[in-house]
Structures are given as structure tokens and as C-alpha cells.
């Protein structure tokens, strides 16, 4: 049995066509694009092409707005630190409680250096309060960093509108769009988004390559200084093979954009509807009416996510969970907690994230397996009795916590 991979928000398979596009740049075209001889010449052209492919996917006005980096995290750090460095008189940052650790951990770190960070809260569907945001936008804010789509629930934030508001307050606007790029049509040239992070491996390009989109004219202070690569904005010899791969992947993502939003969304909906119908006491987290087409995050009450994943894995199904135990940390997902999901449900959240390579057969198989797994684990749960939760589960089982 081949595995069923429904964890595409974690990472994706590199497309075969991407691999083929990359291969010549390992052995034949191995030159340094900075070199004067002909070994480097063609490589420089390949990078230029990749830059234009990414430009097109993002709807950027100029190809020089695309800066290749090593990953989404580097892009996030570069963007936020640049905004702070460029506007030393502004000491505040606005972000959200549900950002990816690449932004959150950096922000809590910056708090130690005296920066004031405002964390916008979300409601039970993971939505922001725009009035709260508007109130916080003062002339003290250097940068707003808000993700385009949440990695756990897929829920969108209104980044285009938020960028307008930030701009009006004179603050820079950055968005971590690693989950959205390739799944959401973008035309950055028509927005006030100043900076945007892309991660290659989320869209069928290899790991270890990312992009920072930097709108022309936005004041910028590089994180890595040294060589003149990327017009001096990101020093370090280019990861040529991966950049070529990312370019190819961007081109393919643009071609598949409609498919992602129709066929992938249909499969996701089929999966979700069937599971919810078959499994009692389960519900979708986040905002189902406003989210990525490939993501479904389902909370299964009274059981724990890691146990679900281990059993899914036994059936060759790969997904991920917001439970404490899967992360290596001891806290359940900060995203679930921010939405106020009770912990007997937050621990049992499972994220299914599809890709354009997911098939109907695979989805059918998951629909068949999941209800059995959930029933099996609930038999072990002290909150569960027979076919349903114990009467007043929180009272039926109230352990002493130590």
C-alpha cells in the first residue's frame, strides 16, 4: 500500500518536473552566477527566469521585488528586523496571537529588547477584530506582520485591507503568506503590502529556498550583508538549483491555481462532510467560509491527537495535529487556544491538508478509516461511555492535575 499524504501544509512533494528543471544545475550548469566566465553566465539567466516566474505568481510589478532567501523563516525575520532598523523611532509591532512561530518567537524575543508588541486576538472562528486593529495603529508602529492564511486552520486574514490601514498610519506591512502563495491568486502590485514571505517547499519546490517580496521603494535594511547577490539585499551565494526549482514550481502553481480552488476544494469538502457526518462530537475549527481550499482542521472531542495520528499512520495516512504531544512542547496548539477551543477538543484536532496530487480514492480511504480510529480511541477515553460522551463529561471525569 502506498501512503496517503494529507499533510501538505507541513511540506509538499517536489514535483517531478521541478526536479528535472533543477538537475542540470547540479552538474552541467554548476557555475557561480557572479562569475565572469561562461560557466556562470547561464546560471545567472536561469535565476533571472525563476525571478520572473515568481513575480508572475505573486503579481508583483517588478522582478527586482523578488529576493531569494533560504526559507520562509528567513524572509519573516528579514522583513520584521528590516522594518525596525529602518524606522528606529518607532518601537511598536502589531501581529496576531495565531501567527506561525517564525513570527511569534521573533516578536517575543524583540520584546526583551524593549519593543512593544501588540498581539491581536481572534474570535472562536479565528477572525480578527478590525476595530481593535485600527485602535492600535499609531505613529509608534513600525511594522504590522499578519499571516495571509493560517497554517493550522487555513483561515484567511484580510491582509489587503489591513495593509491599506497600516499604510494610512505610516506603518510598514508584512505578511507571512507561505500557506497562501500558490493557492490564492495574488496581485501584489495592486495592494499596499510592503513585504511578503514565501516558502518554496509549501508549493512543490524543494526545502531550503524562500522568497521575500519587497515592494519597490520600501525602505530596507538587509539581514545578511556581504556579497552583492540579490542586489546587495541578501548576501550569500545563490542556492541556484533550488531557485530554479522554485521558479518552475511557481509557474506550475499558477497553472494549477484554478484546479486548487475547484477540484482540490471539492475533495477537501467531500472529506470534511463525510467525516463530520460519520463521527459524532466532531467539528471544524477556524472559519470554514473563508479559508484555504486544501485545508480542513477537525476537532475530535475527548481523544488526543497524537494517538489519532499514530493510528492513521498505521493505515498509511499522514496528517498532523494541534495536540501538545505532537509538537514536542507541552502546550496544545496556540492557535486552538487563541480561538478558545476547550482543551478536551483542542488536544484532538487533526489537520488534513490536501494538494493537487490528492486523489478521490485516497479521500475515500480516509473517510473509511477515520471513524473507526476515532471510535477505537474513544473506547479508551475516560470521558466516553458506550456510544456517546459520559453524561456531563467534565464531571464524570475530573482528574487531579499534578
Amino acid at each position: 500500500m502506498t501512503g496517503i499524504y494529507l499533510d501538505n501544509n507541513a511540506t509538499t512533494r517536489v514535483d517531478q518536473a521541478v526536479v528535472e528543471a533543477m538537475l542540470p544545475y547540479f552538474t552541467e550548469q554548476f557555475g557561480n552566477p557572479s562569475s565572469m566566465h561562461s560557466f556562470g553566465n547561464k546560471v545567472g539567466l536561469a535565476i533571472k527566469k525563476a525571478r520572473m516566474q515568481v513575480q508572475e505568481l505573486l503579481g508583483a510589478e517588478h522582478d527586482s521585488e523578488i529576493i531569494f532567501t533560504s526559507c520562509g523563516t528567513e524572509s519573516d525575520s528579514t522583513a520584521i528586523l528590516s522594518a525596525l532598523k529602518a524606522q528606529p523611532e518607532r518601537k511598536e509591532i502589531i501581529t496576531t496571537t495565531v501567527e506561525h512561530p517564525a513570527v511569534l518567537t521573533l516578536c517575543t524575543w524583540l520584546e526583551k529588547d524593549g519593543y512593544k508588541v501588540h498581539y491581536l486576538s481572534v474570535d472562536d472562528k479565528g477572525r480578527l477584530d478590525m476595530d481593535e486593529y485600527k485602535k492600535l495603529l499609531t505613529d509608534q508602529v513600525a511594522v504590522v506582520s499578519v499571516m495571509w492564511a493560517n497554517n493550522e486552520t487555513g483561515t484567511f486574514f484580510p491582509v489587503v485591507e489591513m495593509a491599506e490601514l497600516a499604510h494610512a498610519a505610516g506603518a510598514m506591512f508584512h505578511t507571512d503568506a507561505v500557506q497562501a502563495v500558490g493557492k490564492v491568486p495574488m496581485s501584489l502590485k495592486d495592494t499596499r503590502i510592503d513585504m511578503l514571505s514565501v516558502s518554496g517547499h509549501k508549493l512543490h519546490a524543494p526545502k531550503g529556498v524562500g522568497v521575500l517580496y519587497l515592494k519597490r521603494g520600501v525602505r530596507f535594511r538587509p539581514l545578511l550583508r556581504g556579497g552583492h547577490q540579490e542586489r546587495g539585499r541578501r548576501a550569500g551565494t545563490e542556492n541556484t538549483t533550488s531557485i530554479v526549482g522554485l521558479g518552475k514550481a511557481a509557474e506550475m502553481a499558477l497553472e494549477a491555481m484554478e484546479f486548487e480552488n475547484t477540484e482540490v476544494a471539492r475533495l477537501r469538502d467531500k472529506l470534511e462532510t463525510a467525516i463530520l457526518a460519520k463521527v459524532p462530537r466532531s467539528f471544524v475549527t477556524g472559519d470554514p467560509s473563508n479559508r484555504l481550499p486544501n485545508t480542513s482542521n477537525i476537532a475530535f472531542e475527548f481523544i488526543e491527537g497524537e494517538a489519532i495520528l499514530l493510528l492513521l499512520n498505521k493505515f498509511g495516512i499522514a496528517a498532523s495535529s494541534g495536540s501538545a504531544c505532537t509538537s514536542g512542547s507541552l502546550e496544545p496548539s496556540h492557535v486552538m487556544r487563541a480561538m478558545g477551543i476547550p482543551y478536551t477538543a483542542a488536544h484532538g484536532t487533526v489537520r488534513f491538508s490536501l494538494s493537487r496530487y490528492s486523489t478521490e480514492d485516497e479521500v475515500d480511504r480516509v473517510i473509511q478509516v477515520v471513524p473507526e480510529i476515532i471510535a477505537q480511541l474513544r473506547k479508551l477515553s475516560p470521558y466516553w461511555e458506550g456510544d456517546g460522551p459520559a453524561a456531563e463529561p467534565e464531571k464524570a471525569f475530573a482528574p487531579t492535575y499534578a
Binding site: 493510528l311 504531544c325 475516560p382 482528574p399
Partner: protein
Amino acid sequence: MWDYSDKVKEHFFEPRNAGVLEGANGVGDVGSISCGDALRLMLKVEPETDIILDAHFQTFGCGSAIASSSALTEMIKGKTLDEALKVSNQDIADYLDGLPPEKMHCSVMGREALQAAVANYRGEVWSDDHEEGALVCKCFAIDAVMIEETIRANNLSSVQDVTNYTKAGGGCSSCHEGIEEILVKVLVERGETFKPGGVAKEEAAPAGMTNLQRIRKIEAVLESVRPQLKRDGGDIELVDVDGKTIYVNMTGACAGCQMEALTLQGIQQKLMEELKEFIKIVPTKTGALTRAMK
């Protein structure tokens, strides 16, 4: 994915004694605050003999929590309550061929459920005696609460101190930033500031005792803690004194007890206070400390 042993997987995929136990007369409901997992252990005890005739569990938790629960029920069936209570969390982990350091608290939860169930059977109220924090040092499985308490109790001020007292940070050293953060916090409370290059706590000047006086003093300290250990069915004996290192033997219930490291730490502290010098206590037989150092 966690690196679970085959035994853990086996007990997770095919848990033994899962589900409600009809006619249970001892029930323990405990949860681990550190991860949110929780466990109900049900015992059927024969009143005449105190023998555990049957044991079942229900667990809200991850793979290793379920496996630990399953293993525990297998281990205690047929034992008397007193025998069962000797099962330590390390025994549960050993039975499962080991648990990842982040998951050791699952076995602690099992042991606590056992204590709670026995207390429930005996009509007593069980209360927990330790608090667990976020794991800081993954090499030696030392958590934040342990580090913070040790810093407070011993007035520590450097990462090196913390490593000397708790072993935390003595391995790969990638948790030094985390240890520094705890130091900064506690030092601020003490009205001090953390100095990164801070030297380890000065060793106290030799107290000017002869070897014989010193060894007698050590024996006197061990004598003073002996009644406590004996109450728990254990004992300690002095094996050798080599400079600053004092070798001891933990015997009886102390040997392999999950609290062995903590007990030794307490004794070491007492010895340092009495001798007025910096010493290290080392158990010679395989115990929790030496196991962890392997």
C-alpha cells in the same frame, strides 16, 4: 515523529486491560498539567489479601500515555498493594523499553494514578507532591521548575552552577539560553543582575577539619537523614570519600526509586551546609542518577 520503542507501539496499538472495570473498588483519576493528558486507573482488590485481582484503565492522551497505562495494569496485576506501590515511573518506562525524555511524564502520570487508586481503595485522600514544568534540558530530562527551585534553594547565579547542581545543560548545551532566562528571572527577584561570564559559585574554603573529623561529620549527616529513608523502606550507606566526591550506596526501596536523584540532591545539600565546602555525592550502584548519566 517520536522515536517510540516497539514495546510502546505494541502497547499502544493493542492496549491491555482497556475500558471500564466492573466492580472496581479502587479508582485513581489523575492528569498531567504539563501536557493535558489524563488517566483513570481502576483496581479490583481482594480485601483479605490486598492482592490486585484485576486492573483496567481509560486514558485521554497520546500514544505513550496509553502505552504507559497499559503497561502499568499488566505490571501490577497479581501484586499486593504494597508490592504494586513499589513500581516506579522508571520501572514503567523500562518495561516499555524506554520512553523519549519529553514523554517521561506519561510514566509519572501512571505512577501517580496508581498511588491515587490505592489511596482511594484505602479511603485516603491522595495529594500530589511535585510540580512539573516545561522540559528545558532534553539530554537529562530536567524541567524548568526543577531548575528554578534549585537556583532559589542554592542561590545559584551561573549556568555552570545550574549544571553542577542539576546536570541541566551538561550535555549538548543547546538549552543554555533557556537556563539563562530562568537565571535572569530569579536573579531579578533577588535584586541581582545576571552576568553572562559569571564564574561558578566559589568553592567554600576548606573548613580545616582532619580527614577523620570530616568523615565523622559526613556519617553524622547521613545518620540524621537515615530515619527518613527508613520510613520509606530504604537506607543509605557511606562507601568512600575521595576528596570532594562522596560515594554512597542507596539500598532498599531507595535503590532505583524515582525520587532517588532528588533525595540525593537533598542529602548533598545538607552535607555541603555541614561541611561548609562544595562536594558531590555519587551513588555507586545503578540508580536513577547513574542511569540518567549513561
